[in-house]
């Protein structure tokens, strides 16, 4: 692993940043990419097996754990698991209620899923960078394994674009198509004079359109950027001689505990805020 010349260091980093891609290769047909060139050649019609596997596994783990607590939920004295789960649910519920004035049965579960799922995906970052890839490569013969789903831009965009779709759906459902488009067209510049009001429309659409489109992009890239950078630093630390790695990886990991929680919280909070904006007239 450590310090075997510049070329292998680069190869090590690239290897760690390469997803396990399955798709239709122009020459090889349906196959798993053996190199990053093959992966690029597969284009859009390919999937990252590792990202999907880990994200779905973690999501299933989250739902299994919370379902277990939910099945035994009692209004009496709660057990340890119920206590733990309840404290998270209550935390999310409080944030939802503080942000939204409209009651919704959907936003609470949405925010809870995002918070715990994103947290778990980020948490994979704290597992030493070589453990799982080494196991998959040398025991199972899988060439690439990127274990932190949130360092995959597809994953973060998958969630943020879903949130974006929900924003538009609830926006139209709550305010009607006219109200939704009106908000885009007659804000922030408006006038009592009808002609001037309509003259402002192009500027408003431009401004509001950009700010609307910026929401999913910033949501996805913020999480992706943070996690990708954090993962990269772990990989760089792993290039050091193993005797001194702990001196850097331990402080970084401790700091990272804060980062992964904060990023999960920000993602959840912004989702709630966007949902609140979609539900309310302003």
């Amino acid at each position: 692993m450590a310090g075997e010349g510049a070329l292998t260091s680069t190869g090590y980093i690239q290897h760690h940043l390469q997803n396990l891609v399955f798709g239709l290769h122009p020459e090889n047909g349906l196959s798993i990419a053996k190199s990053s060139e093959e992966a690029v050649a597969m284009g859009f019609w390919a999937i990252h097996l590792d990202s999907l596997f880990w994200s779905v596994t973690l999501g299933a783990f989250f739902l299994w754990l919370f379902k277990k607590a939910a099945d035994k939920a009692t209004s009496g004295v709660p057990g340890k698991l119920q206590n733990f789960v309840e404290s998270i649910v209550e935390f999310v519920d409080e944030n939802v209620n503080d942000t939204m004035s409209v009651k919704s049965n959907f936003v609470g579960p949405l925010a809870l899923t995002i918070f715990v799922w994103v947290f778990l995906m980020n948490f994979m970052d704290l597992i030493p960078v070589d453990f799982i890839p080494y196991f998959f490569e040398h025991i199972l013969g899988v060439p690439y394994m990127k274990v932190v789903p949130s360092t995959d831009v597809n994953v973060t965009f998958g969630i943020s674009l879903s949130v974006f779709a929900l924003m538009i759906y609830f926006g139209i459902k709550m305010k009607g198509l006219g109200g939704f488009l009106g908000e885009l067209a007659f804000n922030p510049f408006t006038s009592d004079n009808v002609i001037i009001k309509w003259l402002f429309v192009p500027f408003n659409v431009l401004l509001e359109g950009v700010s609307l489109l910026a929401k999913p992009v910033s949501l996805a890239l913020r999480l992706f950027g943070n996690m990708y950078a954090g993962e990269l630093i772990f990989i760089l630390i792993a290039l050091l001689p193993w005797t001194v790695q702990w001196a850097l990886s331990v402080p970084w990991a401790i700091f990272h505990i804060l980062v992964i929680t904060l990023q999960a919280f920000i993602f959840m909070m912004l989702t709630i805020v966007y949902m609140a904006m979609a539900h309310e007239h302003h």
């Binding site: 939910a70 009692t74 959907f106 899923t113």
Partner: protein, 156 residues
């Protein structure tokens, strides 16, 4: 950083997770939370109510205690009065008894004095008669001079 089908797969699994969470996870937990909140609120209300009831009971106890104290004081006062009366009555009885004893003793003494005087008188009379007989040599007869002797005796 290739954008590919993973994005759509991720979005699909995200929606499935959210729907599962909304259907099976969120409602039971949030319901048990709300229920517990209600139960705690009820419990607190009941505690407040019972503490209020306790205060009322304490006030009642205080009045009862005061009544009991007043009653006790009254009983004590009555008892004291009654004992005073008994003491006074027994004092009176004792005094009367003492007077009676004293009177009877006085009467007895007086009786004794009278008796003693009487016997003394008689003795003095006979002594005087004896003395006179010895002096006069039998001329004095007790019977014939009884009047004189009685006079003398009366003068003693």
């Amino acid at each position: 950083m290739n954008i590919n089908l993973t994005l759509i797969g991720q979005a699909i699994s995200f929606f499935i997770f959210v729907l599962f969470c909304m259907k099976f996870v969120w409602p039971p937990i949030i319901n048990s939370l709300r229920e517990r909140q209600a139960r705690i609120a009820d419990g607190l209300a009941a505690a407040e109510q019972s503490s209020q009831r306790r205060e009322e009971a304490e006030a009642e106890i205080a009045t009862m205690l005061e009544d009991a104290k007043a009653q006790a004081a009254e009983i004590v006062a009555q008892a004291q009065k009654r004992s005073n009366e008994i003491v006074e009555a027994s004092k009176d009885t004792a005094r009367t008894e003492a007077d009676r004893i004293k009177n009877s003793a006085t009467a007895e003494i007086e009786q004794e004095v009278v008796n003693a005087r009487e016997s003394l008188r008689k003795q003095v009379g006979s002594i005087a008669v004896d003395g006179a007989r010895k002096i006069l040599g039998g001329e004095v007869n007790a019977e014939s001079h009884a009047k004189v002797i009685d006079d003398l005796v009366g003068q003693i």
